[in-house]
Subunit: 247 residues, 2 copies
DNA sequence: TGTAATAGTTTCATAGAATGAAACTTAGTT
DNA sequence: AACTAAGTTTCATTCTATGAAACTATTACA
């Protein structure tokens, strides 16, 4: 039996166009149409619609398309009171000042994690962490935290959906997760970015649900395994304080 | 001859749904459908599509719809390097500290102006200025600046499109605009908000195009006409400095 | 200067996608 | 239990969205 679609194709396509602008700021019509594999005329019509509603504007100079003010406006009006990225910023800055390393805040979103807030170390050599970045949930200290401390159902689903190279690796990963659960923190050592290491701990809100992962990251030269082990309690303590500020 | 539409209706409707969330953070299906005047089933289908692409999520607790992370993500990746709201913030803070009043930055958008940045006075009685707010271009000091110092074509078009109560008023307004052009700044006295006054000056980018309107606003008790006249040169000077930082 | 190439825009016949009425599910209220 | 309200799904029909092709504007280059 062929599943009836419950979505609207034209809208899907228009949203795909918007999503193109997560990686690029300025795109031409042809560029977009080849990116999402649609005819120029179709893309043009969708762009006109997006432009009319203020979601897309054109760069005066280059004539190329870019995101319009409406996107910004919607984001500005998005609830800020209960937004961790907003509330926890001062505490993150404090932690950065104490440790001298870059501090980031991650949320799980589907099979990815997304960096919703970051404050940079002010040392010469430092981890640079752009806010808004997405990364796969399969690697990195914060990924492991987001999986290990997620609610049972969520974790099961995630482990299901993440593909593993082999069964042995799967087993190894699961045992790593229980270790993380026992310790209360996760580390990563050049897992995703060469030369970078990170410690990550869970932040729980007042109703004891996982709210985010808090990570401290820097160059391997300063963050040895031993050093991260030492820092972990301090970071956990900060995370505990932060959690009390949520919901 | 019936104009052929160059836009896509389904997409227009979906975007209208998103735009609903500029005023409210949480909305139910029925609420939305009555707001934009469409059938529940249609709205439901559009919402499902928006949800699948991450533009809408559902509030766990209330089951209501709200904006998703994608909106935030897009805004986060929006070009920040050349964004006045970002670049001018430190200078705005400095001005606020000197004058002790709320400082705002406005952009023209269609027949409206939009507050793209603001720093609040820290006095007990102060003008509160939420970022992202829209207001009609017909009233307020910054509106007058945005019109008076706009490029010739833009100004003509705006004056055309803004409706006037009477011809006399129109004449009065036009003469007011030339006065503003001569002075280099505009003021407003309880024009839009009772008890509030404001001085506004243009910010020009390096290629001498109007980039934004910079406003200082506060209670009429502190901002008399005389006082605003005194402040104007200082604000203009700050605006000049800011302009040099753009493009 | 002419010619080709490239990017963007509009037109139009046609397929099939989007639509809204209605039926159906929950869940909450009287 | 009957009623009300919000949300969800189904389905026949219509009109909308589609992509091919034509057209325009701009740039490259010979």
């Amino acid at each position: 039996m062929e599943e009836r679609k419950l979505t609207v194709r034209a809208v899907e396509r228009a949203l795909d166009i918007l999503i193109c602008f997560t990686t690029d700021t300025d795109l031409g019509l042809t560029e977009i149409s080849s990116k999402i594999g649609l005819h120029k005329s179709t893309v043009h019509r969708l762009l006109t619609t997006l432009e009319e509603k203020g979601f897309i504007t054109r760069n005066q100079a280059t004539e190329k398309y870019r995101l319009g003010m409406r996107v910004w406006e919607l984001a500005a009006n998005q609830s800020q009171e209960d937004d961790p990225a907003h509330i926890l910023l001062p505490e993150m800055e404090r932690l950065r000042d104490v440790l001298g390393e870059t501090v980031s805040l991650y949320l799980q979103d589907g099979k990815e994690r997304i960096r919703i807030q970051a404050v940079q170390s002010n040392q010469a050599i430092r981890r640079v962490a752009p806010v808004g970045m997405r990364a796969p949930l399969s690697v990195g200290a914060s990924s492991k935290v987001l999986i290990a401390f997620a609610k049972e159902e969520v974790r099961a689903e995630l482990l299901e959906s993440l593909e593993w190279v082999s069964d042995e690796e799967n087993g190894h990963y699961v045992s790593q997760l229980s270790e993380i659960q026992a310790l209360g923190y996760a580390t990563s050592f050049e897992e995703r970015e060469p030369g970078a290491a990170a410690v990550s701990v869970p932040i729980y809100d007042r109703s004891h649900h996982l709210a985010a992962a808090l990570s401290v990251s820097g160059p391997v030269s300063r963050l040895s395994m031993q050093k991260m082990k030492e820092l972990a309690p301090m970071i956990s303590e900060a995370a505990g304080r932060m959690g009390k500020m949520l919901k």
